[in-house]
Amino acid sequence: MEAFQPSDRELVRRFVERGDEAAFRTLYRRHTPAMHALLRRLLDPDEAEDVLQESWLRAARGVRSFRGESALRTWLLGIALNRVREVLRSRGRWDGPVPKESAWRPEPGRALDLRSAVDRLPAGYRAVLMLHDAWGYTHAEVARLLGVEEGTSKSQLWHARRAVRAWLTDGEERR
């Protein structure tokens, strides 16, 4: 029988009302692996670690405003993605130009594995593809997480899939 695990709601309540460190640590351990996984797909290891901490600090400071409209994890991922956009936009690495057809052409004899192909996408497109196709978020949820229109999420996903497909197949037609 599993030991009793307090809900996110209960842990947040304890943290907000009493500054309960044990409650915070439980939340941290419960949700960090997912947050860190997303950050590692978008940032290098050192950047991911920095953003992870900054995200938790922002979450802790702002959790009183969390109204429970979404799952806590979704809210936390949203905070992390906001910070990622800030970091990468400041370095010109979030919004890649809308890729021209020629930019997505596969290189002959250089088919990539899926991880390499996904990592090759500009960060914004990569985030959409990971959130939708890897984590299973809907376009409405992706749009909220990334602060874009739902149509933008669909469009970027289409482009991302097309590019990854091209790099995977090395120009061969997909059956």
Binding site: G19, A37, L52, L114
Partner: protein, 187 residues
Amino acid sequence: MTEPWNAEEKDALRALAAEEPAPFGAEEATVAALRREGLLRRPRARVVLAAAAGLALFASGALVQQRAGFLSAPPDGRPRFLLLLYADGSAAVASKEPTGTRIREYRAWAEHLSEAGHLVEAEKLAPAAYSLGGPAEPEAGDDVLSGFFLIAASDLAEAKILASRSPHLRHGGRVVVRPVERTSNSR
């Protein structure tokens, strides 16, 4: 609608989304930052008598007892592991380090376990042992169980890493790691 990914590609995508544990030290750094901002209050946890468990292990007989209070890790569902500290009962092994240095080493290790939220309980065992069934007393030269630490860790691998940092190993002792079996009464 045509599926964008075949089965193998879906597996590869799921692998990309696999959870990643926090970087080493990240949790403590975050907690420390929140404490500085006054957003956290330490739990009113039991004070555990630690460090003394490690200090009676020196075969030289220098049974230095030092009582020190450390905060116990709160129950949070993590697996528990018992670290059993054995020393050579023949008294032939004795660390060359000064006693004060050894005390500081054990205390630092216990402090780290506590500060990092791993330490649940620790006790020094008195030398006397009363056996019901089997040999009445350990044979001379056998390992003597002289203390234990009960810790919480994410998994066995982490528990072993924590145990490997015990100064007890450096001073010729042995540390046995035993997972605690979860039952309906487990905390």
